[in-house]
Each structure stands twice: as C-alpha cells, then as structure tokens.
Amino acid sequence: MNRITAGRRHPLARYAVLLFALTLLGGVYTLTAPGNQSADAAIASGKVDDVAEGKKLFEKTCSSCHGPQAQGTENGPTLVGVGAAAVDFQVSSGRMPAANPGAQAPRKPLAPWVTPKRIDQLAAYVQSLGGGPTVPSKEQVDPALGNEAKGGELFRANCISCHNWVGAGGALTEGKYAPNLNEASPTQIYAAMVTGPQAMPVFNDSIITPEQKRDMIAYIVGVREQKDPGGFGLGRIGPVTEGLVAWIVGIGGMALAAIWITAKRRQAK
C-alpha cells in the first residue's frame, strides 16, 4: 500500500499516466473513427472474441451464399472489404440473410436470432477480413446535432433523384426501386451512404463529409417526423395522388350532389 502511494508520487508517474491515457484515447479513436482498419487493429483492441463468434455465426447463416471465407459464390458477392458498416446495414435492416433471389433484397422483419450483439459480432468478423467502412458512432448520427437546412440542400442535390423529395421512394430500372426512407435508423442512413447498398451509389467522406452526413440525417429524420402542415399528406408523392383525390372526392362528390339536387324535385311534386 505504502509502496503504491509512494510510486504515485514518483516523478515519472505522471508521464506513465499520460502515456496510458494517450494509448487509451488512441485505441478508442481507432475503434470508432471511420476509415479503413486492418484485421490487426481488431485483434489488438481485444475484439478477437467478437471476431471468432462472428466467424461461427457467419459460417452458420451466411456462408451458403457468401462462401465460408466470405470470398463470394455465384449466389452472393464477396464481403472482403465491404466493412462493418455494410454488415450492420444489411443485417439490421433485415435484408441479410437474403431470402430468395430477386431484383433486390428488400427490408424485412428481423429473424429472432438477430440481436445487436450478434450483428456486432458478424460485423467484427467481416471487418477483420479486409477492413472497410465502420459503423458510425452515436454522436456522428445524432439528428439533434445536425443542421436541417444545410442537410436539405445536400439531400436534394444527391438523393432525391432516386428517393423522392421527402424520401417517399421511387422506381428505378429493371424492377429495382429506391425504398422510402421512413424506417431507416440514423445509423442505417449513414451506413447506406458510406456503403452504397445494391443499386445505390457510395457517398464516401470525400464526396460528403461526416458533418454533412449528419446534417442530412437531421433533414431526413426531421422531415419524416413532420406533421404535414396542409392536412392529410396523400402519401407525399405529389400530383398523382392529388389528381386521384380531385377526381374521386371532388368530381365524384359533385356528381353525387348533382344527382341528389335534381332528384329532389320528384319528391316535392
């Protein structure tokens, strides 16, 4: 006890503490910061267990399509280098494991075995194979920290050609479609941008910086939670539903009114 207290007062102690703190900070930074990371980093940071667990899970549920080493088969692409963010996006949105081959793997309810922890393990395993974009931190995707207006501009410039102005989605060629953005969590929105799932292009950090991504998340989340100021939003897809309503409610209602008014006469007679 005495020796420890004495040691604490040793002139070199403060340097040791500083060194320790710096290592810790660096470690945390390398873990959370986006960018490529190698298998070594994952192993060095004590994620070996996750990797091992993830490998087991992967072999059980994913290898039939992606191959035992995730090298790819004719049923699924290679996952080397797609990164933890891709796994997190695909599995947490229910897209993977894919059910049946189609134009596009759709979002679907999660299987009971899918838990955040297992997703992390799968992600750690795939990350250990060849790096790739990592899962963003809570802070990186917090809508409250973003600037909605700026995000809106970026959203209009980059995303609405496929996803529509309020993220209501739209059709693409060959039976593909851009889904609506009503269900994606902030983390998934971020991950979609950095990984570019399927027909969607990749928006890496040199095209849209992480802060800008957060602004966009703020916009997407803000707009979808907005109560439509003008009444019922009619699916927010614009003139098509408006025209439908004008004919069915408007003209239909007026025709009924006309029939009613002219029929009145016979009763009065």
């Binding site: 501009e153 410039a157 996803h163 039976g175 003008g230 009619l234 003139p239």
Partner: protein
C-alpha cells in the same frame, strides 16, 4: 304573388326603373326562363363555380405573391429551409403558406379549385359530347368550350410554375424543352418566352401577367359568351314525355333553378374548402427551391398535363437529322401530336358529323348515348387514348407502388395506346346495340313485373307489364340518325357531291354511321298493353 299592397318606396323605385329601362319586362321574361332537369346538366356548373373560387382565392394570393427571380435568403418560420438561398417567388410562396394568416388554406383552395375547374370542364364536355348537345345550333358554343379547355390548360401551367419550387421548375424545364424543339422557330420561341437564355430573370414576371391578367381575362370573356349563348339558345333536354324540339320542359330559372344552382355553388365551395382543409396539395416546402441541377423521383405535372407527360415517357428516342438540323422527334411528337389529335378532333367533330350525316336540322333534344353507337364508341376510344397516356404519365409511381418493372409499363403503354382505343371502340359499339335491343324489348314486350303466374296447362310464366309512361317516352325519344342519300349501287348516277373518291368514302361512312340499327317494334300501338289478362302473348314468346 304577394298579398298586401306593395310598400310605397319599393313600388315607387321599381316603377321608376321600369319606366326607364323596361327592366320589369326583361326580368319577367328571363326570370321565368325554363331549365330542364337532369343531373348531368349540372356538371358544367362545377367548372363555373370553381372559376369563381379561383378568382377570389387568386386575388388573395396576389396580395403577397412576388414574381421575382432575384435571390433572397429565406428567413421565415419554416425551419428546414432557414438560411437557404432561393428566388423571391419561392420565398413569397412560402411566406403565404407559413406566415400569412389563412394563406395556406387559400393556396390549397386555389389549387384544388384549379383541379376541379379543369376536371369539371372535362366531365361537362364529355356530357355534351355523348348526348350530341353540340349539334346545330350549338356548334359555336362547343368551339368556345374547346377554347376554354385549351386556355385552362395554359392557365394551369402558368400558375403551377409561379411558386418556383423544384417540382414546378421541372415542369418549366420540359415546357422550355418543347418550345426549343419546335422546328425552325424553336429557339426564337424559347428566347421570347424566357427573355433570353433559360431560365433567365424574366420568366416569372411574364408567367405572372399571363396567369393573373391575360388568360383569366380571356377566360372570363369566353365564359360569359358561353353562358349568354346557352341562355339565348336554351338548354337541350333529354327526350321524354311532352318534350319536343320546339319546347323546353323543366323548372323556371327563378325560383326553382336558382335555388338549385345556389345550392350547387355551396356544394362546390364545400368540396373545395373541405379538400383544402383536410388534404394537402402542392407542398412546395417539401420540394425545395428550384435549382436546374436537382431533379426528383416522382416528378409529375398536375393531372391535366399528365397525358403529355405520358406521351413523352412512352415515346422511343427518335430523332432525324435534316441538313445539319436535328429534329428531336422524341420531344415534338409527344408534345404536339396527342394534344393536336385531341383538341383538333374535339373542335372539328360537330362539323365532321354534319358532313357525314348530312344533317343540317336544329336539335334541341339530347341523344341518349346508346342511340348513336358510333359517336359513343368514338368518344370512348378517345377517352381510352387519353387515359392510357395519362396513366403512363404516372408510370414511375405505378411501378414503385405495384412493383412492376418500369420497362414493362413503358411497353405496355406503347401497345395499349393503339390497341386500347380500338378495343374500346368495338366493345362500346356492341354495348350500345345491346342496350338499344334491351330498350326495344321493353317497348315491345313490357318489363318483367316479378309476378309469376301459372297457366291452366301448368306452365309458369312471368307477367310482363308495360313500362311507366315517362320511361317509355324517354326510350321512344330515339330517332334514326340521318344519312346522306346514296344512290343505289349499280343503277343511276350518284348525286354530284358523292362521285369522287372522297364522295364515295363519305357515302360509305354515312351509311355506316347513320341509319337505324335496332328499330323499335311498336307492338304497343295495336295491343295497347301486355296486361296480365293478355298472357297468351307471353305464351307465344
């Protein structure tokens, strides 16, 4: 009318006016004007009342709307756009929506009224077409109607562009694309419209004057002319008891018809105000300001432009090069051909029909659609043509909503736009004949009464009774469609007008179009009624 003596001030004033301008006589004559009663005769009023609502709400909007293309930084109360650079037009529209009291309601009423205005015109026009109410002497009013519809489309297009949001900007861009693709004059037209390069600084101000001054002015004048002509020529009536080409059976304008018209105005108002309150329309804040570089999925025009959008979408990417000029057929054809076919076809139809039938008589009794099968079939095939194009204008939404491939919808459209009208023609024609046959059967044999009778020898029959008077009269209102007298083939010389190839075609068309397809067997005249006592009639059947 009233019991007690008229109070002096009123009697004095009215006789003063009466003595000077003869208003009493004028009013007496016009207030007692008779209007026939049929629900479909009210459809035109949807357009009329919507137009009044458009004028009122539009005037409200002009108090705050600024047609400026200069850029301002938005500082209103809609958070997601705060600090964004946008045109003054867009900023002022946002201001109307969020910071002017009642502004959003007025904008939405204006837009819903615009949709009802045009949709109302369309159903009204269809009613006039299918009942043949455009025939002499009403051709002129029909032409005015076609002009009104064309102008209304232009009014809608200019109005839709005013808020300068991303969606209307896309529409404007297409308009400019069409203008510039016109052969020879394209560049000039585009420069004239936009005051230079697209989009330029002037276009909003120009569209604004067109939208609130020129086009509404012409619309108002034409609508007045339309109403006056209708008044002077009197309304057509459905065939029925005691209705002839020389009389009008119905209710007097005052008070009966006026009460109905007033009620119908209130209905229109209620529907428009109700929609504007509960259903959001044109949420310009969600679209964002217009920037030529941004384009959104699901960009659509308002419904009345949908058929043009659809023809643009199904058109293959054709172009031809003539002497160094590129003629972008993929833009010109869809922009001009369907609109041309529809509007020209509408305008010429009364005259074409006259030419084919040689019918120069006046008509004040409306046709029942079934009684002119070719006309009805042509109308239905035109509706199908328009409908296919219209549907395909929304093919991206259909594809996304029903999970059909976008290419499939395009190919479907390319085939359906030709096949659909032909099919509609054939089906409608058959249906009309079937309905006529049904009428003839009812007049000839009566209607099934639901009473089953057992005959002495054990057979069961259903008793047929004659149709009610008014229904029978309604059915018997049918007239054979006139034909031009073609010479019997082989003998004699055909009349002068029918000799050349065109003349022969005309005679052939007349023979097909006109005539009586299903004659009504007037059993009635001899056996006044197939009364229950008269059931050997049913026996022999």
């Amino acid at each position: 009318m009233s019991t007690g003596p008229v109070p002096k001030p009123i009697a004095g004033t009215s006789s003063f006016i009466d003595d000077r301008i003869g208003a009493g006589n004028f009013l007496k004559r016009n207030l007692r004007k008779i209007f026939p009663d049929h629900w479909s005769f009210l459809l035109g009023e949807i357009a009329l009342y919507s137009f009044i609502i458009l004028l009122l709400t539009g005037t409200f909007l002009t108090f705050w709307y600024k047609p400026g293309m200069n850029h301002v930084v938005y500082d209103g109360s809609y958070e997601p756009l705060k600090g964004i650079l946008m045109s003054e037009a867009y900023a002022s529209s946002l201001n109307i929506s969020f910071d002017v009291r009642g502004g959003l309601l007025m904008r939405q009423m204006h837009h819903w009224a615009a949709l009802l205005f045009i949709a109302g015109m369309m159903v009204h026009m269809l009613r006039v077409f299918f009942t043949g109410a455009y025939r002499k002497p009403r051709e002129l009013n029909w032409i005015i109607g076609v002009l009104l519809l064309t102008l209304a489309l232009a009014e809608g297009l200019t109005g839709y562009s005013l808020p300068d949001d991303l969606l209307s900007g896309a529409g404007l861009r297409i308009t400019q694309g069409v203008a510039i693709s016109l052969p020879l004059v394209g560049t000039y037209v585009s420069f004239f419209l936009f005051g230079g390069e697209y989009p330029g600084e002037d276009v909003m101000a120009r569209f604004y004057s067109l939208h609130i001054l020129l086009i509404p002015g012409i619309l108002l004048a034409l609508i007045s002319a339309h109403m006056i002509l209708m008044w002077v020529q009197k309304h057509t009536q459905m065939p029925g008891k005691g209705r002839t080409n020389k009389n009008v059976v119905g209710a007097p304008f005052y008070p009966a018809f006026m009460a109905k018209a007033g009620a119908y105005f209130l209905f229109t108002f209620a529907v428009i105000a109700g929609l504007a309150t509960f259903a959001q329309i044109n949420p310009i804040w969600a679209f964002g300001p217009y920037t030529p570089a941004d384009i959104s999925a699901g960009s659509q025009p308002d419904f009345y432009m949908g058929f043009l959008e659809g023809s643009l979408r199904i058109m293959p990417a054709w172009e031809i090069n003539v002497l160094g000029y590129t003629l972008p057929l993929s833009v010109i054809i869809p922009a001009l051909v369907p609109m041309g076919i529809i509007m020209t076809g509408l305008a010429l139809y009364p005259f074409l029909e006259q030419w084919v039938t040689g019918d120069r008589r006046e008509h004040h009794i409306a046709d029942r659609p079934r009684n002119n099968p070719h006309r009805t079939a042509i109308g239905m095939s035109a509706i199908t043509f328009y409908g296919v194009l219209w549907l395909l204008g929304a093919n991206d939404e259909l594809s996304a909503f029903f999970h059909i491939s976008l290419y499939t919808t395009t190919w479907f459209g390319r085939i359906a736009v030709f096949l659909g009208p032909a099919l509609a023609y054939a089906i409608t024609y058959r249906m009309c004949l079937g309905l006529q046959r049904n009428d003839a059967a009812i007049l000839g044999h009566g209607v099934e009464s639901g009473v089953i009778k057992r005959l002495p020898h054990g057979e069961f029959i259903e008793v047929h009774v004659p149709p009610a008077d008014d229904i029978a009269a309604h059915m018997r209102g049918k007239e054979a469609i006139p034909t031009i007298a073609a010479a019997p083939d082989g003998e004699g010389i055909p009349p002068k007008g029918l000799r050349g190839p065109i003349g022969r075609l005309r005679a052939k068309m007349s023979e097909t179009y006109g005539g009586e397809k299903i004659p009504i067997e007037e059993h009635h005249e001899e056996h006044p009624a197939i009364s229950p006592a008269d059931d050997d009639k049913s026996l022999t059947r």
